[in-house]
Amino acid sequence: MNTVRRALVAEDNAALARVIAFSLRKAGFETTITQDGAEAWEQAQANDFNLVVTDHQMPHLTGVELTERLRGLERYALTPIVLLTAKGLELDSERLAEEYRVAALLIKPFSPSELAKLVDRLTAQPA
């Protein structure tokens, strides 16, 4: 596993996207940031990410829709996906885990270090 690990951060809140990317970089990822669901889908098709962190409430394509599309692609069948959502707009994490194998559902506001630890655990598993 010496190859470069790449992460896609899809979050329409630019500032939050930047700090997530920062944390992931600290964890050894190369990051790509997008603020739009449709754009995230394009990026995912064009590249090969080892991790996807996506907000649910995004313009054009929601996080769950993006997840559904990603799972439709063979190379994203097992990629860890972390979904972000706001408090009060909670998604059914059990159903998501079962249906789309979403690795984790984080409720905003969350702590980036928590995300970093979670990512560590998720990406360490296959190895």
């Binding site: 329409d12 809140n13 939050l16 920062f22 739009d36 313009p59 706001a86 506001p109 702590s111 270090s113």
Partner: protein, 602 residues
């Protein structure tokens, strides 16, 4: 029927008891009188007998002294001549009759009668015994003294008068003696009956009411007036009658029925209700519907006979189920309907009409709750917007601060950038709170404006000043072009100020750094024209009409990036309209927007 089941009611018992005690009293009185009379007769006999005995003894003594006892027989004879005296005699020591009123007995030895009762009154004694002819004889005996020695005895027998004889003697009083008590008893019974008859009647009525089946209406009748109880009862009866006259037979539901069949006042009342009211048969076909129903359904033909739910429109299966079940209870549903080309929400409630017995119909009420639903939706939307606007900067601040605390920063510039972000997010949060405050101050009392003579130039200067800081912080070129002689206008100063500041604030918010904002105010012939022009992000054509809708927020990320309540433009337009003016918009996406307010001078 009643008398059979209750042979002796309370009042009858009273009469019976009265009779019983009266009879007892009469019996005791009779017995008492009998013994008293007998004792009285006996005493009278004894008293007169003893007195006569005394006089006779004295006469005999005198006779003996004067004549040597010649006149004894005559004296005795004379004595028993008056009264009930049976006989008189003088007996010597040997018990031989020396003198006797019955000449045959003279010289015979006296025989003491058997079973005699011995009487004694000091020196005077006597016997009481049954003489011939069943009569009681009282024989009094007194010793006659000769030379100081009692040698002879004087006997005087008195026939005790028989009670029957006395009664016979007083027979002419008997009629009175028997009839008077009987008459008194009868009078008592009559008086008691008079008193107890009303009670008896009340008793009967109460028993009859007590025996009524559930839900049956008691119909008490009055009783003959006598005494307080009957007066009270009659009042009660009168009251019940008055009540049943003032409240017609029926309860609300049947009055509703009556109304539907033409009882004027109630029908008028139902017709004038703003809420739709209808009555249907069990199948839901309308028997009566008020005007409000027709208006709600925008129907101008007669509704009678139509099925109410069908008239309302397409009903989802769940609602249909609700109305199919619960036939005995109230069923309520909120139904989205399209009336004409409007879509509305109706609240339909149905309750059973119980007064109809076996086949109940229904009473329906229909209310238009569209406005209420819209208000609820607005409120929810506002809360959503507000929480999103509050939460986003908070989430960012938390994420940045936490990262700053937990990560080792090698790059000081990076650290500084993090702090700047926190600062920016805090500013954004503060701005949103300011927005909220200004919006709430605008929204309070939006229904009314308070026009005052206002110096327009001074008002516009104040507005420009309020946004000066914001313009400078974004390095915007802020051009203020206030026309000459703006003069005075009759406007609501605070609301116009709020509106202009809001428009200028929007221009500043949505214009990228280094952009250009123009604020121009000119006085036209009959209006004041306020124009706010920016070189900002612009508004897409399909969103231009919607920006005036409450809580609308553009999907443009450049706009979403900024805080907003979704209320500023709708309120600005409302203020312009309250001044009989208008707020219009021209915009090109990516080039900029121009908001124009026309305020008529009068």
């Amino acid at each position: 029927m009643y008398a059979k089941s209750l042979p002796i009611g309370l009042p009858r018992r009273v009469v019976s008891l009265y009779l019983l005690f009266s009879l007892l009293a009469v019996s005791l009185l009779t017995a008492g009188s009998y013994f008293a009379a007998q004792s009285l007769l006996h005493n009278r006999t004894t008293g007169s007998g003893l007195a006569q005995l005394g006089r006779l003894a004295a006469a005999l003594q005198l006779d003996r002294i004067q004549t040597g006892g010649e006149d004894a027989a005559r004296l005795l004879q004379a004595t028993i001549g008056g009264g009930n005296y049976a006989h008189a005699a003088v007996v010597d020591e040997a018990g031989i009759y020396l003198v006797h009123t019955d000449p045959d007995q003279v010289g015979t030895v006296s025989i003491e009668p058997e079973g005699a009762e011995i009487l004694s009154w000091g020196s005077v004694g006597g016997l009481r015994y049954a003489g011939g002819a069943g009569q009681m004889l009282n024989e009094y005996r007194v010793p006659l003294t000769v030379s100081g020695l009692p040698t002879h005895t004087l006997r005087l027998a008195v026939a005790e008068p028989r009670l029957t004889d006395t009664l016979t003697q007083y027979g002419h009083y008997a009629t009175l003696a028997i009839l008077a008590p009987i008459a008194c008893l009868a009078l008592g019974v009559w008086a008691l009956r008079k008193l107890t008859d009303p009670l008896s009647a009340i008793d009967r009525e109460l028993s009859a009411i007590a025996r009524l089946g559930h839900g049956m209406r008691p119909e008490p009748v009055g009783v003959p007036s006598a005494g307080l109880a009957s007066i009270g009862w009659n009042r009660l009866v009168q009251h019940v009658h008055d009540l049943s006259e003032s409240v017609p037979e029926a309860d609300f539901e049947s009055r509703l029925m009556a109304a539907s069949q033409g009882d004027g006042r109630t029908r008028d009342a139902l017709e004038s209700l703003a809420e739709g009211v209808a009555m249907t048969d069990p199948e839901g076909r309308i028997e009566f519907a008020n005007r409000a129903i027709a208006a709600l359904l925008q129907s101008d033909q007669a509704l009678e006979g139509e099925a109410l739910l069908d008239l309302i429109g397409r009903i989802d299966p769940a609602t249909e189920e609700t109305f199919r079940q619960n036939r005995c209870e109230n069923a309520v549903a909120e139904l989205p309907v399209s009336v004409g080309d409007e879509s509305r929400v109706l609240r339909v409630a149905r309750g059973p009409l119980r007064s109809r017995g076996e086949t109940p119909g229904f009473v329906w009420s229909v209310r238009d709750i569209t406005q209420q639903k819209l208000a609820e939706a607005s409120r929810d939307q506002f809360i959503n917007t507000a929480t999103h606007e509050l939460r986003t900067p908070l989430a960012n601040i938390k994420a940045y601060a936490e990262t700053l605390v937990t990560c080792d920063f090698t790059d000081v510039e990076e650290q500084k950038e993090f702090c700047n972000t926190i600062n920016a997010e805090a500013t954004r949060l503060a701005r949103f709170v300011d927005d909220l405050l200004s919006i709430s101050s605008l929204e309070v009392g939006t229904l009314a404006i308070d026009r005052q003579r206002t110096d327009v130039k001074r008002l516009m200067d104040e507005a420009a000043q309020k946004v000066g800081t914001l313009m400078r912080s974004k390095s915007l070129r802020f051009e203020i072009a206030l026309g000459e002689k703006l003069g005075d206008a009759h406007v609501d100063k605070d609301k116009i100020l709020g509106m202009v500041v809001n428009l200028l604030g929007n221009a500043a918010k949505y214009t990228p750094e280094g952009g250009h904002v123009t604020f121009a105010v000119v006085r036209q012939e009959d209006a004041i024209k306020i124009e706010v022009r920016d070189t900002g992000v612009g508004i897409a054509p399909d969103e231009q009409a919607r920006v005036f809708e409450k809580f609308f927020r553009s999907s443009n990320p450049a706009i979403r990036e900024e805080v907003g309540t979704g209320l500023g433009l709708p309120l600005a337009r409302e203020i312009a309209q309250l001044h009989r003016g208008e707020l219009t918009l021209q915009s090109t996406l990516g080039e900029g927007s121009t908001f124009t307010v026309m305020l008529p001078l009068q």
